[in-house]
């Protein structure tokens, strides 16, 4: 036939993403193991600021999410998209820019996070110049993908591509909205939002990043690679269409929905609960669709390492998407929130679902693009069992430890006292669980290293087919089979992209409006004042050292918490918090009411050598805070930036700020001196003590007790 064209798939870019997936994966897992060991041996790796727990934890999460899972997504997309579109990628140059740009961003993250440059917003820690670079590279990816779709030789878009398109569009939206921040300097910025509003935006982002970075692209990978590996079509294509639309429509709303429905009348609360639960339906629809594709081919799961990883991945996807809605029930959430249960939940999903699909795709792709057979099936089986056992050893101790600790936090004696008033008791109780978790993680890493070796030997045994020849008809043939609506929806990619974008934007807007309204509805507490310049510096030290990784600043209105910590947190207390620092996990106690609880000297000693004050504590020491000087050159800029964001510092205050800072620092240094601790006033420890002593104290003061010289005008809205 004359209209049959010969063209070539770009396998080299696929190989590059495969190498990046494996390399960054192992790095990310190793950093995870290091932070896991630091929770057992707090002085592991010594007292190097760049290698401290608080700085390495975000490095771990960013590495596994954006470097490992990110490159795995691109690996799956670049391989399957070309074949489903019967076309080479739109532009080799864009493919190159995308690949190297993404790796460059990862390197920037690996440098800036340990150096302490962080916004502190979870999974969005990177500072503003890197945020801009991410947006640029992401757009390159999108253009390259949409360009390929436009020049395709296949009329219809297979459902995997729908998932890829929605991933691109939604992640772009999430990233841009959550990254609104005002720079102070090249690597320092403050969130555009404050307090409760910042929290709502952040968790709208956080929830949907899980949805559209760790779920939808991997569902696309599932819908392509399971049929390929099983060599049979997907169980129900009709179900996959419903799966797609229901999932993207419900997911974008489900996250903050549990924040919303508490404020509603009873009948809407019931509806809201049902609605949140609705997410189980599309998730399980997808799981059933993936697993049922293997009907009649289950014997092959025993043989084929690709199918093994895919099957365990999809099964765990089903478990995690059941667990998620359960944890959003208020009574379950009260038990699991802030505990290691959440850590168990995310690792079960990340290691088995994201890891499983990534490794399944790698085992499928590498032998094919190198035109050879897998080097060793036996090693792949070793990897499979090491990974599966590792996941078990990871998740089960975390579930056990999380619930144990939560129950200990809540336990009262018959006299109505906390049975474990010392938080540390509840930590030392679960350290054996931390040890088991480290063993599980080690097993998973061993498996990954075996996989890398196996795939390396596989590649060596063949030769890369850099440009794989393929043939297809040139023109998109008219297919009378599709109805008008189907053609409208997915025969035309631009319209399709538009509709799916509308779906998520409607969800986003419906959610965003109450979020914006919240700002003007937060009751003002007249005694809540902006932070002093020294406290801002201290807060920035708190952010830089990643304290938020272990300490929450949100006392929930439970008796067990108000007895332990003090008055529960009020939303009006956070109106000047750019960014919010509520945290999501309590490896250490909540700090919102720590202000005034201990003398300055206690904090000084505790930061220098925590175990001298709390024997058995797993808090790492921060001896460098005593030496490091505060950088005074940005004090003025910080005041100006925060005022622009709505913090009511009087006009011209910035010129006085440095003097105020010095005066307050001198006071604290003198108090420390009286207790026998000699420290320079303008050091980070002094700033941090100033901040910690201020935390949560505003509501205790009458407005008249303002200190002279402090910016004290309250926001009267």
């Amino acid at each position: 036939m004359s209209n049959v064209e010969t063209f070539h798939y770009d396998n080299k870019i696929v190989r590059n993403f495969a190498i990046a997936t494996l390399a960054w994966g192992i790095v990310g897992f190793l950093v995870g193991l290091i932070v896991a060991l630091k929770l057992i041996f707090p002085h592991f790796l010594g007292f190097i600021p760049e290698l401290s727990y608080g700085r390495l934890r975000p490095l771990h999460t960013n590495a596994v999410i954006f470097a490992f899972a990110g490159n795995a997504i691109f690996l799956g997309v670049y391989y399957s998209l070309q074949r489903l579109c019967k076309a080479r990628m739109f532009s080799d140059t864009l493919s190159q820019i995308h690949f190297w740009g993404w790796q460059f961003i990862i390197v920037l993250a690996a440098l800036t996070l340990p150096l302490g440059f962080t916004t502190s917003k979870e999974y969005a820690e990177l500072e503003w110049p890197i945020d801009i670079a991410i947006a640029a590279v992401w757009i390159v990816f999108g253009v390259n993908m949409l360009g390929t779709i436009f020049k395709r030789r296949e009329k219809h878009l297979y459902v995997a591509i729908w998932f890829y398109i929605s991933t691109f569009l939604t992640v772009a939206l999430l990233h841009v909205v959550n990254s609104f921040e005002l720079p102070v300097s090249l690597l320092k910025s403050y969130s555009f939002y404050a307090g409760v509003q910042d929290a709502l935006v952040q968790w709208w982002y956080g929830h949907n990043a899980v949805a559209f970075f760790l779920t939808t692209p991997f569902l696309g990978i599932m819908y392509y690679f399971i049929p390929k590996a099983a060599n049979r079509p997907v169980f129900s294509y009709r179900l996959s269409i419903i799966h797609f639309w229901a999932l993207i429509f419900v997911y974008i709303w489900a996250g903050p929905h549990h924040l919303l429905y508490t404020s509603l009348p009873d009948w809407t609360q019931s509806l809201g609960t049902v609605f949140s639960f609705a997410l189980i339906a599309p998730s399980w629809g997808g799981m059933v669709n993936g697993l049922m594709t293997l009907r009649g081919a289950w014997d092959r799961v025993r043989e084929d390492p690709v199918l093994k990883f895919l099957v365990v991945g999809v099964t765990v996807y089903g478990m995690s998407t059941f667990e998620g809605p359960m944890m959003s029930l208020k009574n379950v959430n009260a038990l699991t929130h802030y505990t290691d249960y959440v850590i168990g939940h995310v690792h079960l999903a990340a290691l088995a679902w994201n890891g499983g699909l990534a490794f399944g795709a790698l085992y499928y792709i590498i032998p094919r693009i190198f035109n050879t057979e897998l080097y060793s099936k036996k090693l792949a089986n070793v990897h499979f069992w090491a990974a599966t056992l590792g996941i078990g050893f990871y998740a089960i101790p975390m579930y056990w430890g999380g619930i144990t600790q939560s129950l200990m936090w809540k336990e009262f004696t018959a006299d109505g006292m906390l049975r474990y008033p010392n938080f540390l008791e509840t930590v030392t109780q679960i350290i054996p669980m931390y040890a088991l978790r480290a063993i599980g993680g080690t097993l998973y890493i061993v498996g990954a290293v075996v996989a890398a070796w196996n795939l390396y030997k596989t590649a060596k045994s063949g030769a890369l087919v850099a440009n794989e020849e393929a043939q297809a008809a040139r023109h998109l043939e008219e297919d009378p089979a599709g109805t008008y609506w189907h053609r409208l929806l997915e025969g035309k990619p631009a319209k399709f992209a538009f509709y799916s974008f509308v779906a998520v934007v409607i969800g986003g807007v419906v959610e965003y409006i109450p979020t914006v309204l919240v700002k003007s509805n937060v009751p003002t507490i007249s005694s809540v004042h902006p932070y002093t310049p020294l406290e801002i510096e201290g807060r920035d030290v708190y952010i830089k050292e990643g304290c938020v990784g272990c300490h929450s600043q949100m006392v929930r209105p439970f008796r067990s918490e108000t007895v332990r910590y003090g008055e529960y947190s009020k939303v009006g207390e956070f109106v000047y918090d750019h960014p919010f620092l509520w945290g999501s996990k309590r490896t250490g106690p909540d700090l919102h009411r720590v202000g005034g609880k201990y003398p300055d000297a206690w904090h000084y000693m505790h930061m220098k050598d925590p175990q001298s004050i709390s024997p058995g504590s797993i808090m790492p020491a921060y001896p460098w805070l005593n030496e490091k000087k505060i950088d005074l050159s940005h004090v003025e800029g910080k005041i100006i930036t925060l005022r622009r964001l709505g913090v009511p510092y009087p006009e011209g205050y910035e010129t006085k700020a440095t003097d105020d800072l010095r005066a307050q620092a001198k006071q604290i240094a003198e108090r420390l001196q009286q207790s026998g601790a000699t420290v320079e006033p303008e050091t980070e420890i002094v700033a941090l003590i100033a901040y910690l002593q201020r935390l949560g104290t505003d509501i205790k003061h009458a407005p008249k007790q303002e200190l002279e010289g402090q910016p004290a005008e309250s926001a009267s809205k």
Binding site: I241, I242, L260, T262, I369, E468, A481, T483, H486, I506
Partner: protein, 64 residues
């Protein structure tokens, strides 16, 4: 949190609106999918396996 959101006039409208919109969209999709022709569905389902398709010949990666 609860009280803050409650103080927003008519905030429940957003939740009710989103629920209704979802139900409408879901019903629409189910009807659409049920009405899709079997031929179309079969063709789409087989798309990833099209190495063996009669209309298109994609060269197998394993050379014979």
């Amino acid at each position: 949190m609860k009280n803050v959101l409650q103080s927003i006039a008519g905030v429940e409208v957003y939740a009710v609106f989103s629920l209704l919109l979802f139900v409408a969209m879901f019903t629409f999709m189910v009807i659409l999918v049920m009405r899709a022709s079997k031929k179309y569905i079969d063709r789409m389902a087989k798309m990833p396996l099209e190495g063996d398709d009669e209309h298109t010949t994609v060269q197998s990666t394993t050379k014979h």
